[in-house]
Every structure is written in structure tokens, then in C-alpha cells.
Symmetry: C2
Subunit: 155 residues, 2 copies
């Protein structure tokens, strides 16, 4: 699992502090294991699976069960997003540190590359559609599947 060199140390620290607050407010305990998992998850670049995160922690890091349990907490805290990218069998996660805005994904069905994009127009339009159905929109998942430039041009 790659960690992001571009992530600002202060953003990470802020998010970790936020996570601690979240745990306190919910009456959950602040444990070394939770913080270890949170730090790794939040500083990840790109998308990662629970198993990838788990193995990147190495021995004595945490058990896979606890990784799943902690990722759920991080998601609840709004610090991490779980998404089902087309083509992958399981769920993948992404850190929201430094980019809280919702965004969409373009997934290349050939090389698996994921391109992220943000579009207020798209969000606004979907919000409008939801409202017209009396639906209260909380989360948006927009995904396009196809071929990226590199794969179209013969790699």
C-alpha cells in the first residue's frame, strides 16, 4: 500500500485528532491499534483494500478483523470512504484527508487505473433529480467504466 508523499502532515494530524474526538464522543476507547490503523488508512494515496492495509501493517500491527472494525469507524467518522469499484471483487477504501469533497471515478477496465474527478455540475444535477423524487440525498457514487488514454493508444 502506497502512502502519499503529497499529504500534509498537519492535515493528517488534524484528521487523527478528529478521529480521537469522534471516538471519545461515541464513548469508544482510544487504543494504540485503532490509531495505528487510522494513521495508515488516512495517509494512503489512492484506493486500498482492507487486506492491503492489513498486510502493510506487518506483524503485530493488527488483526484483519480489527482492521475491518476500525475502517467501519473511520467511515462513520467521515474520514474514509468505502467504494465498490467496478472490476474489483471486494470493497476498496480511500482517505478523505485533504479532499473531503465528493468525487467520481473513471475506472479503466484494461489496466485498472482510477482517475478521480470532481464536478459540481454533476452533483447539483443529481441533487436536483433526488429532490424531485422526494429523496434526501446523503451520498453520491458516480463511476464510469471504459478505457483510459494509455490503454486506447496501445499501452
Amino acid at each position: 500500500m502506497k502512502t502519499n508523499a503529497a499529504i500534509r502532515a498537519e492535515d493528517l494530524a488534524e484528521s487523527l485528532a478528529y478521529f480521537e474526538d469522534f471516538l471519545r464522543k461515541k464513548g469508544f476507547k482510544i487504543t494504540k491499534t485503532r490509531l495505528r490503523i487510522a494513521e495508515r488508512a488516512l495517509s494512503a494515496s489512492g484506493h486500498f483494500s482492507a487486506v492491503e492495509l492489513w498486510s502493510s501493517l506487518g506483524d503485530r500491527g493488527a488483526s484483519i478483523a480489527t482492521v475491518y472494525r476500525t475502517l467501519e469507524l473511520l467511515e462513520e467518522a467521515g474520514l474514509v470512504r468505502r467504494c465498490n469499484l467496478a472490476g474489483s471483487s471486494g470493497a476498496v477504501y480511500e482517505s478523505y484527508v485533504g479532499k473531503r469533497r465528493p468525487h467520481g471515478h473513471l475506472v479503466c477496465r484494461s489496466c485498472g487505473r482510477v482517475i478521480e474527478f470532481v464536478s459540481r455540475d454533476l452533483e447539483a444535477k443529481l441533487e436536483e433529480i433526488a429532490t424531485s423524487h422526494g429523496f434526501c440525498l446523503e451520498e453520491v457514487m458516480i463511476q464510469g467504466v471504459g478505457l483510459c488514454r494509455e490503454c486506447r493508444e496501445g499501452r
Copy 2:
């Protein structure tokens, strides 16, 4: 599994004929089992899982393995779409008979209800974004998660 009263018999027949053609062209065999599964899948209303389809066929219908294998063929033929709706653990499928246009879903996180919508604006916008990234868009999955009118108004 519900079958759709609103589906037109001629649409279904046309799609089944198309599936047979597809099988012939690909050199696959046209078997009773495949046609049985196809007919049920194509005439379904709403979303259904492979297991739901399988159990709706009853004894002597088909094995679950063959249901999966046939759904894959139907998807390849473009007659059925497989989608990962938020909240459900496995994949669900939907028939494209009578509504070939791509469409999005609003999924209620409380009752699981799925509202379908079609928006050319949304599609066009996503197409535009993809193009600007040199990405060749083949398939679109748009999903909103939240609360439907009924659940917001206290069921």
C-alpha cells in the same frame, strides 16, 4: 422474484430471439436451461440476485452455477446489467428489456427501495468529463444513497 406485468410479450420475445442469435454467433449452444434462465431474468421487474433468480426457478430449474454462468452471458449480450447497489452484500442484476437506456439509481438506506431515473444531462456531463481525460467511456454507474420520501416522513 417478481416478474413484470408491464413488460410487453413482444419485447420479451424479441430479446430472447436476440439472445439465441448471440449464442449462435458466439458458437455457444442453445439449451433449454439457458432459455429458461434467460426468460426469467429478462422478464424480471426491479433488481434481483442470482440466488433469488435461482430459487424462483424451483427444482429441476437449473443449478446455481449455471445461473451464474448464464447471467454472465446475458450481460455480455447486453440484455442484463449487473450492478453493485449500496447496502447489498452481493451483486444484483436487472433486465434491460424495454429500457435499454442507461439509468441511475437512488437507493434508500433505510428500506432498500430503489428509484430509477434517466438523465441525459447527467450522461452528457459525464461523457464530457471522460473525454477531457482522454477516457473512452463505455459504461456508467450513477448511484445516490439516502432516504426516500416514505422513510423521511416516518414510514
